[in-house]
Amino acid sequence: MTRSELIARMVTKQRYIPQRDVSLSINKIIEFIVESVSSGHRFEIRGFGTFSLHYQLPKKGRNPRTGETVDLVERYTIHFKPGKELREQVNRNKPSVSNVSTNY
């Protein structure tokens, strides 16, 4: 699904908000999450998941092509942990699956 499909779906699912405002809202929602996470806030959307930053220690890495060692600086990476409901729902169509909860 792309942004334009998302806009179309959000327009048809409700009656009051015109396409222009739906489109603006999507941009704003994304910008708000990006801004929040970038400035160090954890972002928790109940049922859907949580965005947060994970700290990565500085370490030695290798260029896989040349094999030479490079220094990797400490940095943050963006982490998304799916929420319980989303984890369960994506497995709904897989009847063989029982939900062993794993925290990783």
Binding site: Y16, D21, G49, Y76
Partner: protein
């Protein structure tokens, strides 16, 4: 700085905070703002549940991965269990999102 100070400086944000920004910046009323936020996440969830990945420029891509079953352990009791095969959601942040994180590191 203790973990608690860090938390107070950057408290978790939620749906309600996004709704507030829609009210302030786009001029939606409270009910509309809540509806936009809820629909946004609902539609992404629905797409994933129907096995479609979701790509939003400037944000990232939500993908699905099928994991095989594998042996695991109950970390509390140490007993061996089989983790069944399952489908998981992954998120890859876009390059633009990743660049913004670097600003935070200085």
């Amino acid at each position: 700085m203790s973990r608690n100070d860090e938390y107070n400086k950057h408290p978790s944000r939620t749906r309600a905070d996004i709704a507030q920004s829609l009210i302030k910046d786009i001029g939606l009323n409270g009910r509309e703002a809540k509806e936009m936020v809820d629909l946004f996440f609902q539609e992404i969830s629905d797409a994933l549940v129907s096995q479609r990945s979701v790509k939003l420029s400037g944000f990232g891509r939500f993908n699905l991965r099928d994991k095989n079953c594998r042996p695991g352990r109950n970390p509390k009791t140490g007993e061996s269990v089989v983790i069944k095969e399952r489908r998981v959601v992954t998120f890859n942040a876009s390059e633009r999102f990743k660049k913004r994180i670097n600003i935070y590191q200085k």
